[in-house]
Symmetry: C2
Subunit: 264 residues, 2 copies
């Protein structure tokens, strides 16, 4: 009897989202990579939502439409942010928590400080807040024609491992792939988030009415020379995995302030 129970065990429910929008090649590659590992449901933005961070839609309503983008897979596009997609999926589509949430594969890196700006990673973090283990995937190639073949192989290894690991339900992994063919990838490295930032350089232009407007541009600056960081791993041909948390308390500073500000 035990054997029968085991063979009829329900497949895990896997929610898939992204921030590049439901038509991006990255999410199609993610679906293809894992579609036999569980019951897949896609709920993703109906347009690009890069750089949306952990934004949620408060001041306006959201739309949700079922689409046939992925053959044989239930899929919905949502007018909101990646975080809205996770919230709507749980409350209005699945009516339960999925067993795993996957986000991506993002077109472009989300290593180091990008984790904070990234809609891809914020969707994964939102899932983990809601007790759904999650993984965000990003490839260091912005191109619409990026080659996802090596990424797909590693997505599968990591998802299979995640499904069989008994990790905390608040687990979030930030996975980045170097833009390299499979034979040049040196393996997987567990890392910490590199300290990096953007040096802003807004481009100033004049509109036809001679009024100024600004485009955000910036130069990425890695300030961190550690060999245990995601930036180092990617520069050295590894797939980087950074475990992420949503308790933002700076405990070191907390102790310092408890001592130095105690007479406030």
């Amino acid at each position: 009897m035990a054997k029968e129970v085991s063979t009829t065990k329900e497949l895990p429910v896997i929610l898939i989202t992204n921030d590049d929008g439901i038509t991006a090649p990255g999410i199609r590659n993610l679906v293809e990579a894992v579609k036999d590992l569980g019951k897949i449901i896609v709920v993703a933005p109906d347009k690009p939502q890069s750089g949306m961070g952990h934004a949620i839609t408060i001041g306006q309503p959201l739309r949700l439409h079922q689409v046939t983008t992925f053959e044989g897979i239930e899929a919905w596009q949502c007018s909101g942010t990646p975080v809205d997609c996770v919230k709507l999926a749980v409350d209005k589509i699945l009516h339960r928590k999925p067993d795993l949430c996957l986000s991506g594969i993002n077109h472009g890196a989300n290593h180091s400080i990008n984790v904070i700006y990234s809609g891809t990673m914020s969707a994964a973090v939102e899932a983990a807040i809601e007790s759904i283990p999650s993984i965000g995937f990003s490839l260091m190639d912005y191109s619409i024609e990026a080659d996802f073949s090596a990424a797909r192989k590693y997505v599968r290894i990591i998802v299979e491992n995640m499904l069989k690991s008994e990790l905390d339900k608040h687990t979030v992994l930030n996975v980045n792939f170097p833009a390299l063919p499979e034979e040049l990838i040196n393996g997987i490295k567990i890392c910490r988030q590199a300290y990096a930032k953007y040096e802003e350089d807004f481009i100033e232009r004049n509109d036809p009415n001679n009024k100024k407007y600004y485009w955000l541009t910036g130069k990425f600056l890695n300030m961190d020379e550690g060999k245990d960081t995601d930036v180092w791993a990617l520069e050295n041909g590894f797939v980087s995995i950074v475990p992420v948390q949503f308790d933002l308390t700076n405990y070191t500073l907390k102790t310092q302030l408890e001592n130095s500000w105690k007479n406030l």
Copy 2:
């Protein structure tokens, strides 16, 4: 001579922003509370930007207009998010890093998990990423007519203390005020971020064409019984201060994965 240098010491430059928009009473109260403590520059959104998290504006340009909202104080309104405001202020208005960034006073609490959704706190975090020490302030009262008088007193105490403390340039403090008159506030408490979440409950409606749309609503659930949390402090009449960090690495899980996933 030393004395002369000391008396002509330049006032600190204090950048002030928020997420409720430049016309909100909260930012006016913040400006009033600290205007004699430094050279104040206000750069804030031209409309409400609550719940924008760490969103930045990538796909469209930004507008910036000088306004006369605060008598005798240089102020600009920006069409972007709170994080955009900080970036534009540094690059295009100040042409230097301010000595301190203050964000708020938010109409509504930003304790516990709200730190992640909050535009107020994301502006403060952005400043700290850029090596500008910062403080986000929030009052537990959503009302446009909220009473900021007790909050103003504590803003001043905290900002004066921050200016004289030699804290790390990446310091971010998340300060929340209970909605209480001054005489009922029990003091200031340094806290950790409570583990809490929202239980979503989207309201479903039909538009005039009989197509569904959804409004995000949710119930706040505090899952954390610790007496060292911001939620506990606020419920017990204290002003809460949580030191915040932007290194999201989960170091405990990192060690765990380095051991258990080493053959990946």
